[in-house]
Symmetry: C2
Subunit: 208 residues, 2 copies
Amino acid sequence: MQLSEWLTGQADDSLHTIREFKRGDRIYSTGDTPEYLYLVSSGLVGLTILSPAGAEHLLRLFGRGSYFGHRSFLAQETYHADAIALEPTRIYCVPGEFVRSALKNDFQLTSDLLQQLARDLGRAERQRVDWLEADVNSRVAQALIYLKERYGQHRWTRAEIASFCGSTVSTVIKTLARFEDQGWISQQGREIIVRDRHALLALSAEDS
Amino acid sequence: MQLSEWLTGQADDSLHTIREFKRGDRIYSTGDTPEYLYLVSSGLVGLTILSPAGAEHLLRLFGRGSYFGHRSFLAQETYHADAIALEPTRIYCVPGEFVRSALKNDFQLTSDLLQQLARDLGRAERQRVDWLEADVNSRVAQALIYLKERYGQHRWTRAEIASFCGSTVSTVIKTLARFEDQGWISQQGREIIVRDRHALLALSAEDS
DNA sequence: CGTTAGTTTGAGGCAGATCAACTTTGGTGG
DNA sequence: CCACCAAAGTTGATCTGCCTCAAACTAACG
């Protein structure tokens, strides 16, 4: 059994609290002590970290059925990022102690979690290296495809895209304009439509 | 009990192979399938990932008593990086299956590993954000202090420092020259001596 | 003492950040 | 339903940190 399934079960059994958030609301803040694991019932949650210079960076996203808050809980550290609702969101809060004892008694659950963390770590490390050399074109292209395909229901702002791919609003806008000139995408007001997914992905590959 | 202790025990019990490497030797390569966990008996091992453009990036380091190879093993993925001996190195290789069954029977061991991975993930994510804005000065300063204090016995080359802090050999050398002008460090041939640790650390803090 | 690995320096260029002024969008309440 | 206003988007000018490249020098090791 996977942890998300188990958490869903807990939610059904009412061993939980339900909380509602609207866009921009904060679920927890950097430095808080973890007490719960969170399971998204509906909506969208973003994990944002504040850089020394004050810019917000979007680290990870959690949609319906995803759980979060586990990293800090397992590390026994305080949160290293803020969890913010990007849309009106409904969340199950499962007390950490329930989770801990479940892990103790169910190796399958633990094993699943180990695998999850190990994969996340791999992704994070590879991404750090990729980003160091990838230009803004490929970072924006990748971000665009990921955000639109994985969380297509959300109306992504230029600011959110910028904070996800580690750039600035101005630069993202200029990049999108360039993409539109090429016919890779089209923009109608705030809406962005991907026209040529293949061409966008090619940007990441063609590293001279 | 921590995993490193357990692995040490396994080493003593001879449930292992011992292998020796000299500087530059490869312990495993990106894409290989994990079969062992590795425990460093002596020497120094670096995990390096090859960027799309062909530059080597030093991700993590493992000295005497540290284990590595666990991330890919737990993720059930092939290796995402190369493990290279940075000095003459002696390593215990413990078959992965031994480890897996030990984890199954010892929750304490597993719990320790979960915590380790969760902390590494936090570090990796925070570092990605920090690096996006930190200039070369602060990156080199941080790298210098970490490498010298944590692995002081190793003669670090400019290339190793560059690959650890995501820069180039030329830039690292110019930065070190600047530091020397300021009196933060002094250089004698290839040797670097930190003179003012405090001033170097201040570079990371003073983000305008 | 030759050869390789490591270090140094300078010139030149460019991607992308910054800043500031401006326009558009779309939701809200009157 | 319209007017308004805050939030979101757009554009151009400017600036600079760091990479690139190339050529020479120096240390270390067999």
